[in-house]
Symmetry: C2
Subunit: 414 residues, 2 copies
């Protein structure tokens, strides 16, 4: 008898898992309340960069419809403001790429359906849980919405915050030029927050996601609350004023005349997330378990662009274990967690570290990276492996040792 897996939530994690399992003969049902055609008129869902490690998974799944040759970006530019601003670059070994999830998700749903995957379109209610569980050997929960997402308890040891650390204002804009090399810019305005500028494919072609990570109480917080619809010109003027003041290396690429949301007022998302790690399984009765995936396991602030990448990683780990094992009990969940946990915690811890004012050692790392391209390249490529990034950043000692490794060859050469 074929294994039967229920996936609750139709985001990237659920779809990657569903496609992975379908390809291996597992019966998969995805439960979601959003039809492919709903996404066209929906508000922007997030901003998501897929790094090369994730794109390789898409290729393996046969859903890499957006080749990096056409849509990818190749490096990070870093700007740190202050009395002596610095601007420097780090390269990926292989390109990253961002696609508006209102384009991405319906395309993968189509792939999933065409390959025999079953999608049930309904908003699950508490009454539905027993039915979903009884029809499956394992329930995978990857949306916090609905009765199942609420069942997973916070893991206090890895959830240091009780509120959002940034007030977010993220929009897809036209009228922003590229750097000579297509790139993401990570601009830091000390004490005020960050701006991540991500070249992103949306409905009408390439645009720029401007992810403004505004410190609560700071000069830019207003952007997380101001309504575009009330007065588009006033909103855009405020964005431009704040960019000019706090994020000048992005501002200098803006054409004030054509600068606007790329497609419609739906291209703007405002709010904030509380970084949260959750315990990863719950019992549903009848010997069935539900296991968490993606945002249900860990919500990270979008600052370091890790959310989708760790969800996709976790989906593959879970998929491999679903195929390899046949009993989906607590031991199963434990073995899954042992294989995915370090990367997920690495992303959560690294992002949480970068949400705090930098330590002197971290400042020293940034200063050294601005002078040492090889170091910054390593930092940049580690966006693919957040656990490796955390190996470098987990303690002041580690940061200094990393800097020291890059200093040593120069000293020898002198």
């Amino acid at each position: 008898m074929s294994k039967r897996i229920a996936i609750v939530g139709g985001g990237a994690g659920g779809l990657h898992l569903g496609l992975y399992l379908l390809a291996r003969g597992v019966q998969v049902t995805i439960h979601t309340d959003r039809r492919p055609e709903d996404y066209r008129t929906q508000r922007l869902l997030n901003t998501v960069a897929h790094h090369s490690i994730t794109i390789a998974r898409e290729t393996e799944l046969g859903v890499n419809h957006w080749p990096t040759e056409q849509y990818g970006y190749y490096c990070h530019y870093h700007h740190f403001g202050g009395e002596q601003p610095i601007f420097f670059r780090g390269d990926f070994k292989s390109a990253s790429r961002a696609v508006d999830y209102r384009v991405y998700l319906p395309r993968l749903m189509q792939d999933f359906a065409e390959r025999g995957g079953h999608i049930e379109y309904a908003e699950l209610k508490a009454d539905d849980v027993a039915r979903v569980a009884s029809a499956a050997d394992l329930v995978v929960v990857c949306t916090g919405k609905g009765p199942l997402g609420q069942m997973f308890e916070h893991d206090a040891a890895h959830s240091p915050f009780d509120r959002p650390q940034r007030m977010l204002c993220v929009g897809l804009y036209k009228g922003v030029a590229e750097e000579p090399t297509r790139s993401v810019t990570m601009s830091v305005s000390p004490g005020q927050g960050e701006l991540i500028d991500i070249p992103t494919l949306t409905f009408g072609g390439m645009a720029h996601a401007l992810l403004m990570e505004n410190v609560p109480g700071g000069d830019m917080e207003v952007l997380a609350k101001m309504r575009y619809e009330d007065n588009p010109r006033a909103f855009l003027d405020t964005v431009l004023e704040k960019l000019e003041k706090h994020h000048p290396t992005v501002y200098r690429r803006v054409d004030r005349k054509s600068f606007d949301l790329a497609n419609s007022p739906n291209d703007l998302l405002q709010g904030g997330v509380t970084p949260t790690v959750r315990h990863t399984h719950v019992t549903l009765g009848g010997g069935k378990l539900a296991i968490a995936l993606g945002d249900v396991q860990a919500i990270v602030d979008p600052l370091c662009g890790q959310g989708a990448n760790i969800a996709s990683h976790a989906a593959f780990v879970l998929g491999e274990e679903i195929v390899r094992q046949s009993i989906y009990d607590e031991r199963f969940c434990e073995t899954v967690d042992a294989k995915r946990r370090d990367r997920i915690l690495g992303a959560a811890r690294w992002t949480n570290l970068f949400l705090q004012p930098p330590s002197p050692e971290l400042m020293q790392l940034i200063g050294t990276m601005s002078q040492d391209r090889a170091l910054c390249d390593e930092f940049t490529d580690n966006f693919n492996r957040p656990e490796a990034q955390w190996d470098r950043l987990a303690s002041p000692q580690r940061i200094l040792a990393w800097i020291g490794e890059h200093r040593a060859p120069a000293a020898l050469a002198a």
Copy 2:
């Protein structure tokens, strides 16, 4: 500058780690209050079987002085008493071997010293901790004795018991014949406890360790309290009486006339251990950490013969990471634990399961093993990999699935 590691405790875990590190150019100091010459007159320390996975590590370390061709055993005989007693056998893929630690440890100390390892002979006091820490990059604690062993807190989630589950009476005896194949016998007297008979090399040659695991309040508990020295004949007669009644497949190999402790009254050890898992690192001040190894990380009841094997495994994992990494902080301890934890918890959980009255599914497994040599061989060889054993035993579902796998080929052949 060479790495400097302090190892507190001179048991198998500490010595395997010390030898591993010495071979890789690390400066190692072992702190112990026992000199090699002290062991000759010491009371029996434990009974320890080294399975082939551990013997392979000894070979790698160049300390396999006791070849299995001469000292090894090849299988387990299982006896389950009751109304319909069963007796059956399972084979290892490669031989196991037991050497009295009063022979084993001083020989490895000699190897360690001859290869340039430093041993400091002193009982550490609280005042010594700062000195030991300041002279090392990392302190490894593998004895519960002394001020350092006390610093590691219980991990309540994996320490289900607050008292010993068996009253132990373990001795090295002469006058016990072998089965036709040299073997360990695991004899179960339902409700009363277990006897593990282990052919063991001691000072005068091969003898038999009889490890009596007596249920508190049961008919055999008296053996954990009766003093050999008070009246050797009365003690031996009581042992013989209890063996005849509860462990007949061992008793039938006993020659009553020559049956006695193998060397001296020191060959007897009585007491009990509370199975305990501890948190694995503590901070010592000055940025130094102490990490737990062996019994300090997990004390398991000797029932399943896992203690030395998991300590040696953990020593190698720790040694590999000490060599691979250079900063011994909390992240270091976390990466070490991630690599050794599953095997150690596997041993603890499996042993704890077997200390409890068996579930119906476990009884069914035992019954099937008695009829199915391939299944029992797999169970037996899993003594090398307790995490694999736990994959089979962790839930009733898993036990039934394991039985089912072994039934399926027969059904096909029928």
